[in-house]
C-alpha cells in the first residue's frame, strides 16, 4: 500500500465471526509482516476476538463463518444495515464450507449424535453461506481464506477499487507451478473443478485438492465423477469427496 493514495480519513473496518473455526481470523493475525502496515491505513473499530471496543457503523465489514442459528440470522441483518461494504471471508462464509456437511443428514440425527437426549436444548438451522441471508459484496475463498487473495481484495477496497474475481480451476495454477499431477502418482484430486486463487497450495505439498474454495462457475459434475471413479473411487466415495466442502451447493445445481 502506498501512502500517497491512502484516503485522508481512514476507512473504519470491522471483523465478525459466525459459525466457524475462527481459522480465517487467525490466518489474518498471521500476517505478522504486514499487520502494522495495514493498521496505518485503516481503523479497526470492532474485532471481538482481539479487542473490547464496539462501533455503530463500518465502511467495510468482514464476515467469517456460516449462518446456522436463528440468532446468527438476526446478527447478520444488523451488521448488513450498518456496513457500506460487506465481505465474506473464507469457505464457511462464502459457500457454507465444511459446516454445510451437516445439511446432508437429517438434522434430528445430527443433534442426537452429539447431544443425545439433550438435543432440544440448542436451536439450529441448516448451515448457510452469508449470501443466503444478506447481500455480499465480495468473497474471499478458501479454508482457510488465502492470505494473498485477502491482501489483494483488502488493498483494492481500501483504495476504493474493484477487486478481480478468479474463475479458472486450480489445475491452471498447479500447471504453472510445474507440479507433477497427483493423478500420475495414483491419487485423486478435485483441482479440475475447484476455483483457483490458492496457488495450488495443496497439490504443491503433495496433498489432493479438497475443493475447499468452491466450484468453478461451469463445473461439470459428471465429468469429475468419471475421473474420480476411473482412478479407483467407488461412485459413492466420489460423490462424498465432492461434497466435502461443497454440501451447500447440492449436486443437482451442478451443470
Amino acid at each position: 500500500m502506498s501512502t500517497q493514495t491512502a484516503p485522508k480519513t481512514k476507512p473504519q473496518i470491522a471483523f465478525f465471526d459466525f459459525t466457524s473455526c475462527e481459522g480465517c481470523q487467525l490466518n489474518k493475525l498471521n500476517l505478522e509482516n504486514h499487520l502494522l502496515e495495514i493498521l496505518e491505513h485503516v481503523d479497526i473499530v470492532e474485532f471481538r476476538e482481539a479487542m473490547d471496543d464496539k462501533a455503530d457503523a463500518y465502511d467495510i465489514a468482514f464476515i467469517e463463518g456460516s449462518i446456522s442459528t436463528p440468532s446468527c440470522v438476526e446478527r447478520i441483518h444488523d451488521i448488513r444495515r450498518r456496513a457500506k461494504i460487506l465481505v465474506a471471508l473464507g469457505s464457511c462464509a462464502v459457500t457454507g464450507g465444511i459446516n454445510a456437511m451437516k445439511n446432508l443428514q437429517p438434522i434430528e440425527d445430527v443433534r442426537e449424535t452429539v447431544y443425545g437426549k439433550d438435543k432440544y436444548l440448542f436451536p439450529t438451522l441448516p448451515a448457510m453461506p452469508v449470501s443466503a441471508i444478506v447481500k455480499v459484496d465480495y468473497e474471499i475463498h478458501g479454508c482457510p481464506m488465502s492470505i494473498p487473495e485477502f491482501l489483494v481484495v483488502f488493498k483494492a477496497l481500501v483504495m476504493g477499487k474493484q477487486p478481480i474475481k478468479p474463475d479458472s480451476p486450480v489445475c491452471v495454477e498447479c500447471k504453472l507451478r510445474e507440479n507433477e499431477c497427483l493423478y500420475d502418482r495414483g491419487m485423486v484430486c478435485l483441482g479440475p473443478i475447484t476455483l483457483s486463487g490458492c496457488d495450488a497450495i495443496c497439490p504443491s505439498f503433495g496433498q489432493f485438492c479438497t475443493g475447499c474454495r468452491g466450484l468453478v462457475p461451469d463445473a461439470n459434475k459428471n465429468a469429475m465423477l468419471d475421473i474420480l471413479t476411473d482412478h479407483g473411487l467407488s461412485l459413492q466415495e466420489a460423490e462424498k469427496r465432492l461434497l466435502l466442502f461443497n454440501s451447500y451447493k447440492q449436486p443437482d445445481t451442478f451443470k
Binding site: 465471526d17 459466525f18 459459525t19 466457524s20 473455526c21 475462527e22 481459522g23 480465517c24 481470523q25 487467525l26 490466518n27 493475525l29 498471521n30 505478522e32 509482516n33 499487520l35 502494522l36 493498521l39 479497526i44 474485532f47 471481538r48 476476538e49 482481539a50 479487542m51 473490547d52 471496543d53 446456522s68 442459528t69 446468527c72 464450507g97 465444511i98 459446516n99 456437511m101 451437516k102 443428514q105 440425527d109 445430527v110 443433534r111 449424535t113 452429539v114 447431544y115 443425545g116 439433550d118 436444548l121 440448542f122 439450529t124 479454508c143 482457510p144 497450495i201 495443496c202 504443491s204 505439498f205 503433495g206 496433498q207 479438497t210 466415495e237 462424498k240 469427496r241 466435502l244
Partner: protein
C-alpha cells in the same frame, strides 16, 4: 452484610468463540456463577460419520483454527490406532516439531495479544502499538517464527496440509530445517529471554487467587509430554489413554452448548498449568530458569498463573525444537511414502496435548475404512466446570470491590484459561443478573 450483585457479560471479548459470564448474588448468597457457552454447535461428531480415513483429519482440523494442528494429530493417531498403521521415527519427530510450533504460536498470541492488555489496562493490543512498539514487534517475530515451523513442515500453519495417516505427503529439506534452527537460536532464544523479563515486570498485576483442584495432563516417561503419553491425574495417578472415558465423563448442562466434564472431584483443570504441576521436572533448563525468574513454583494453585506457565512452555518449545531438528538432520531426511495400508479395522483412540490441554479423539472404522462412530473430547470443555468452580470461590472473596473491578477480574479469570470456544462447542461474555449493588 447483605449484598446483591448481577453481572452479565454478553459475548466476552479477547477469547476465541462466543461465551457469556453470568453472576447472580442475592443477599450475600451466590445463586449463579457460570460461564455460558453460546457458540453455535457445529456437530463434528455427526459430520465424521461415513467419512473415509483419508478425510477424517481434514475435517477435524476445521473444529478450530487455533488448535487445528492438535486436532489433526489426535485424529491421525486415532486413525492409525484403529487401522494398525505404524509410523516412522522421522514422522514422529516432524510431528513433535509441529506440536512445538503450534504451542509456541498459540501461547505467544494468547499472552501478548489477549492477556497483556488486561495487565496494562488497555481494551486491546492495538493502543499498545505506539507505546510498546518493541514488545509488539518481538511478539510478532515470535509468532512468525512459530508459524514458519508450521508453514515449512506442514505447508500451512492454519489447517496443515502435509500430515496424513501414516506419515507426510511432503517433507522439508535439510536446508529449510537448518535455516529454522538458525532462527530458533538467533531469534527464538533471545526473544524468549526478553519475554520472561516483560512478564516478570507485569507479574505483580496478576491477581492473587488460590483454589487447589485436580490437574490432568498427559505424562511421558521420556520427556515433557506434549505429543504423546499416558493420562496423569494429580489426584489418582497414571492411567492408559484407552481408559479416557473414565477420566472425562462428559455431561450436558443447559447453560452451555459445550459439554462439561468431571473426574475425581466436581471439576478438574487441563492446560499449561496442569502440565506444569504434573511434569515440571522434565522441562529444559532454560524453561526451569524462566519459571523461577517469573516466580512460578511447582504445585501452583492460582489459575491466573496459567499464563506464566504458557511462557515457560514457549522457552521449552524453542529449545526442544532445536534438539528435534538436530536429531532429524543426524538421521538424514528420507522421502517416505505414508503407510496407508490398514492391517485391521475397529476402534482407535488418539490423545495429545494442545495448548489448552489434553485432547482425545476416538473413532470406530468399518471394513471399508469409513467412520461409523466418532467422539472428540476438547480441553476447553474439560475446563468449563473448573472455571465455574473458580468463579464460585472468587466472587465472595472480592465481593467488596466495585462491580467494574469484579467484572474485570472474572473476565481475566476466564481468559487465563485461554478458552477455545469454537473447539469446545461441539465461549465468552460476563453476565451479572440483578444490577442492584449496595
Amino acid at each position: 452484610m447483605s449484598k446483591n450483585l448481577d453481572i452479565n457479560v454478553h459475548h466476552l471479548t479477547r477469547v476465541e468463540g462466543h461465551g457469556n459470564i453470568v453472576i447472580n448474588m442475592k443477599e450475600g448468597r451466590l445463586e449463579k456463577a457460570e460461564l455460558q457457552i453460546v457458540e453455535a454447535p457445529r456437530y463434528f461428531e455427526a459430520l465424521l460419520k461415513g467419512r473415509s480415513f483419508h478425510e477424517a483429519a481434514i475435517i477435524t482440523s476445521r473444529i478450530c483454527g487455533i488448535c487445528a494442528l492438535g486436532h489433526q494429530i489426535a485424529s491421525l493417531k486415532a486413525t492409525e490406532d484403529a487401522l494398525g498403521l505404524e509410523v516412522s521415527e522421522q514422522t514422529i519427530l516432524l510431528r513433535k516439531l509441529l506440536v512445538n510450533g503450534a504451542t509456541l504460536q498459540s501461547n505467544v498470541l494468547h499472552v501478548y495479544f489477549l492477556v497483556a492488555p488486561d495487565l496494562l489496562n488497555a481494551p486491546s493490543v492495538f493502543p499498545l502499538i505506539p507505546t510498546h512498539k518493541n514488545v509488539i514487534l518481538r511478539a510478532l517475530r515470535m509468532k512468525r517464527l512459530a508459524n514458519d515451523i508450521g508453514d515449512i513442515v506442514s505447508g500451512r500453519a492454519v489447517h496443515p496440509i502435509t500430515p496424513v495417516p501414516g506419515g507426510f505427503t511432503h517433507i522439508p529439506t535439510a536446508g529449510e530445517l537448518k535455516e529454522l534452527r538458525r532462527r530458533l537460536i538467533e531469534e527464538g532464544l533471545p526473544d524468549v529471554v526478553e519475554t520472561v523479563k516483560t512478564i516478570k515486570s507485569l507479574a505483580g498485576r496478576i491477581p492473587d487467587f488460590v483454589r487447589e483442584t485436580e490437574y490432568i495432563s498427559l505424562q511421558d516417561k521420556n520427556e515433557y509430554a506434549l505429543y504423546d503419553g499416558e493420562i496423569f491425574s494429580s489426584d489418582t495417578g497414571a492411567t492408559a489413554v484407552r481408559n479416557y472415558r473414565d477420566i472425562t465423563s462428559e455431561f450436558v448442562v443447559a447453560h452451555s452448548t459445550s459439554k462439561h466434564a468431571r473426574h475425581a472431584r466436581s471439576s478438574y483443570m487441563v492446560g499449561a498449568l496442569a502440565r506444569w504441576n504434573n511434569n515440571h521436572n522434565q522441562l529444559t533448563e532454560i524453561s526451569l530458569n524462566a519459571a523461577e525468574e517469573m516466580g512460578l513454583k511447582p504445585d501452583c494453585y492460582n489459575p491466573y498463573l496459567n499464563n506464566v506457565a504458557q511462557v515457560v512452555e514457549c522457552a521449552h518449545c524453542v529449545e526442544d525444537s532445536i534438539a528435534i531438528i538436530d536429531r532429524l538432520l543426524e538421521l538424514g531426511l528420507k522421502n517416505e511414502k505414508p503407510n496407508q495400508t490398514p492391517t485391521k479395522y475397529g476402534v482407535g483412540i488418539g490423545s495429545t496435548e494442545v495448548p489448552r490441554g489434553i485432547l482425545f479423539h476416538e473413532y470406530e472404522y468399518d471394513r471399508k475404512g469409513n467412520i461409523v462412530f466418532a467422539n472428540c473430547i476438547i480441553p476447553t470443555g474439560q475446563n468449563l466446570a473448573n472455571i465455574d468452580d473458580d468463579m464460585k470461590k472468587l466472587v465472595p472473596e472480592i465481593i467488596d470491590k466495585p462491580k467494574k473491578d469484579i467484572t474485570k477480574q472474572l473476565e481475566m479469570l476466564v481468559r487465563a484459561y485461554d478458552p477455545c470456544i469454537s473447539c469446545s462447542v461441539h465461549l465468552l461474555n460476563v453476565k451479572f443478573i440483578n444490577d442492584s449493588e449496595d
